[in-house]
Symmetry: C2
Subunit: 157 residues, 2 copies
């Protein structure tokens, strides 16, 4: 599908440096960035890495979306596996998937390979939602840039 390349070009055309939350997630895009043999990290460091708050990480665990191990004194230990899961969750949340639907999806993951057809369907729907959002956002961008041009004295109409 050609969509990826085109969007890649759109991204490349953004002249501003990446800022805020997305940076962290961006840094974890490919698994190579997460060293699978690295020692597990605490909740604060994990939160910083994935761009969420420690509170939110605990909340996600409480909802059954991640299951970090605990050390001898009960502290959470996030492994590379957990971090990859968190990055996935963060991206799905940012694209509008609800906690409810993520719980459903993760529970399917927990049930093993037999649930792959349903997981695939969920990802299909998610893809459609994201594409719709891209269209909506693009309209909003056009509207916004139109206003800016107008406020700048609409040199070209």
């Amino acid at each position: 599908m050609a969509t990826e390349e085109l969007i890649g070009r759109v991204l490349a055309s953004s002249e501003e440096p990446f800022t805020s939350v997305i940076d962290a997630v961006q840094g974890l895009l490919d698994d190579s960035t997460i060293d699978a043999s690295a020692p597990p990290i605490g909740v604060a460091e994990a939160a910083k890495l994935v761009g969420l708050s420690p509170h939110t990480l605990r909340y996600y665990e409480q909802q059954g979306l991640v299951r970090p191990a605990r050390n001898a004194s009960g502290y959470r230990e996030f492994t590379a596996f957990d971090l990859r899961r968190l990055v996935f969750l963060a991206r799905m949340r940012l694209s509008g998937m609800t906690i409810h639907d993520l719980k459903r999806y993760i529970s399917l993951v927990d049930q093993g390979a037999s649930t792959i057809p349903e997981r695939r369907r969920i990802m299909f729907d998610q893809r459609d939602r994201i594409k719709r959002q891209l269209r909506e956002l693009t309209l909003a961008l056009e509207t916004t840039e139109y206003k800016i041009r107008a406020y700048d004295g609409h040199p070209e109409g």
Copy 2:
């Protein structure tokens, strides 16, 4: 700026027909679609046109975001002006601008041309937010399509 053309191509590459809420807003993209000399319409029809619920339109009026006239029996009458305002509001909402910020913006509009510099600043910030969201959404799309490929037997990795 090259961004618009590129995003246009991304949009053109979407093979699915447009569905749901965005359709209505899409239909109203350019002002030519709204006949300025057309008679005003009621709340139900206006809601359908802009893709919001009648409840939401009343809520927006209550928040001071639109001010449709009333007929002899107190029914709202949305003019082309009101509809354009609603389309603007719908797009800003869909791109994540809050009601709070929209109230601020509209109150500046009400105060006249002297507030243009601040309105321009608001639209600048909004544009940056939208571009960030486009990047986030694109990452989510990549992740989603990666999952789909994996579930389809990851033929290319």
